[in-house]
Symmetry: C2
């Protein structure tokens, strides 16, 4: 998952938009402002700290499983119910397979959720600073929303989610801030919203947060979203899963089976199963990311940065004397990509994905040059 | 692509449907009758002639390419624009890469098309006997439609598509009939519909039909859909592509980027590129399927079957003395799966995918027992 890059350079004036519109486009297409994924430049080799990819390889067992599955059976359709993968996830979390849904990355699952649980005319709630794909889903599926402001420390204020609404969605840890809600806060939100579905988007949960998965058997309105793209290093294979009451899972299946029966391919299923089963590799790599994050966090503090308390695989930082945009551009010039958002309240911030220790040392070196002169 | 299996056993009464409906479902989910993919039984080994899979392995070069790409780079997101694949397809068809869109199977592309080119309140047209996913897309995206009846020989009547409409979609060859329109007929339809998008769904075109791709530079309202699942034996990897004017392709990109930026994973891209480049393997396997089809077609005629002229990798047949359902069940009992549709006009027919010669000899043997007693 990546946030929209609303750079001035990328924005399109209303006039140009009119020009671009083909007479064959539907009214829906004309109305859209699509999500723009993080840049993936090909012109030269960058240290890529801009899209929250894991710096470590997927589990070697996952790669083995993929190679084993890359055989003549690829002529056959995958299992559209992803049964083996769902059983593996269910065992991992001590749930039933009917409580698990598998899809093509958590973005696909989020899109299904907007169709499955929210209704036009009944506004949903999400934070004002959050994953920038949420407003895009709202637009394509015609779901109204109200933004709930984060507090001055960029934390989610739970009371904001107690008012009447048509559903709730937020990432935990939040993106791009990295701040994390305690489980008690999530329980508070759930208790105030028994009539509506509450979606906790846990793309980054494995880097230090406490998962809401353990609340699923108690709250039939809770849906938890996870992904294999971050903590399991499988962004290139596309795999995400949702966990919740079987009726919520059934709703997601109905949407999927009205769209594309087979969104997860044979090799993605094989790789995902092996990755989830390789617990020791998972623990080792996620701890490496966490340790690097904590070290870089204090070094950036020492360099005068304000650093949000992150439980994700990225840091959200600003310097009181240097503009976010200037640091972003200077890092880019020196071959390091980070993410800068031209958005209200956060235009002075940078989101820096956690890379290897070597990557981060290079980053710190260049940043030192910038801020120490 | 597979057709909906509207078996009596699978149908759900309205009452049961009410019971199943969760209080957390959106109005949209409640309104859906999802597509039901062809059965994939696990209880025993069948000769599987029910889902139009290719009986031959994908190109060994595709499998090699997948194995090479299954490395630590899987930690990185795929190229969301699928540039390498689009360039490969563009070169193959002598088009520009801006005229190509790549997606997760042609089902995903068809879903994008319903959102990108059709508008609620302006009915689109498709044949009364056709791919049963079309009415499902119409339902989820709230697009009205009018069915244009096939003639008594199950051929598409082009005049049916001359009336005012909000868009047109049909498979060529058609499914599940296998009958194919000549290019002149498609040109006639295009000339009568310059205000609307005409989608020619060519999932089965490589088995003997003439592709409409060569008309793309002349007709900005023509979109051609193809897939790697059938003639390139890659159903398990999910890959489909659309070819048309760059403005149509741009509309599909806007829908995709408002839904899920990365629907085609790294290995699917690698496998697809290699499969398209392996022209000699493609020619050899598709000719084997065509030759087997022609042989089985005449043998079934000799056994008293009426066999539609098929240009696809399946045959659509009926016997004047034996019911479609009875033959379907008897074949199933003997370990051979074919497809039977409990739908008006075609309930006496069977759709039989073309397998290997050995598979088909076994089929003919069992059918002979049934009809000769």
């Amino acid at each position: 998952m990546k946030e929209n890059h609303l750079n001035v350079e990328l924005s399109v004036t209303e006039l140009q938009k009119e020009d671009m519109m083909s007479r064959y486009w539907s009214e829906l297409v004309k109305s859209l402002d699509p999500y723009v994924p993080g840049e993936q430049p090909r012109d030269k080799k960058y240290i890529k700290l801009n899209t929250n990819e894991n710096p470590y390889s997927p589990s070697p067992k996952a790669i083995d499983a993929i190679n084993k599955a890359a055989n003549e059976d690829l002529r056959l359709y995958p299992d559209f119910s992803c049964e083996e993968l769902r059983i593996t996830i269910a065992e991992y979390y001590n749930l039933e397979k009917e409580q698990i849904f598998a899809g093509n990355g958590s973005d696909e699952l989020l899109a299904f959720c907007f169709q499955a649980f929210f209704n036009p005319g009944n506004p949903i709630l999400f934070p004002d600073i959050t994953y920038t794909f949420y407003p895009v889903y709202s637009q394509i599926y015609k779901i109204d929303y109200r933004l709930i402001p984060l507090d001055d420390e960029f934390k989610i204020k739970v009371e904001g989610f107690f008012s009447e609404n048509g559903g709730i969605i937020f990432p935990n840890p939040n993106a791009p801030t990295g701040t994390c809600l305690q489980l008690e806060s999530i329980i508070e939100i759930l208790n105030h919203n028994k009539q509506n579905v509450v979606i906790v988007d846990e793309a980054y949960i494995d880097f230090g947060g406490e998962s809401a998965v353990k609340l699923i058997n108690e709250y039939p309105n809770l849906l938890v979203m996870q992904t294999l793209s971050k903590s399991r290093s499988l962004a290139g294979m596309r795999g995400g899963f949702a966990l919740g009451h079987k009726d919520l899972i059934e709703a997601l299946s109905r949407i999927k089976n009205s769209f594309n029966s087979y969104t997860v391919d044979r090799l993605a299923i094989a790789g995902a199963v092996a990755a989830i089963k390789d617990e020791s590799y998972f623990q080792a790599t996620r701890m490496k990311v966490i340790n690097t994050r904590e070290r870089v966090s204090s070094e950036l503090c020492n360099l005068g940065f304000m650093v949000s308390k992150s439980k994700a695989n990225f840091l959200f930082v600003r310097h009181p004397l240097f503009s976010g945009k200037d640091i972003f551009l200077e890092l880019r010039r020196k071959g390091i990509l980070v993410r800068h958002f031209n958005l209200p309240r956060i235009e002075e911030y940078l989101r820096i994905s956690i890379g290897t220790d070597a990557d981060m040392n290079k980053l710190l070196e260049v940043i030192k040059e910038i801020v120490m002169g």
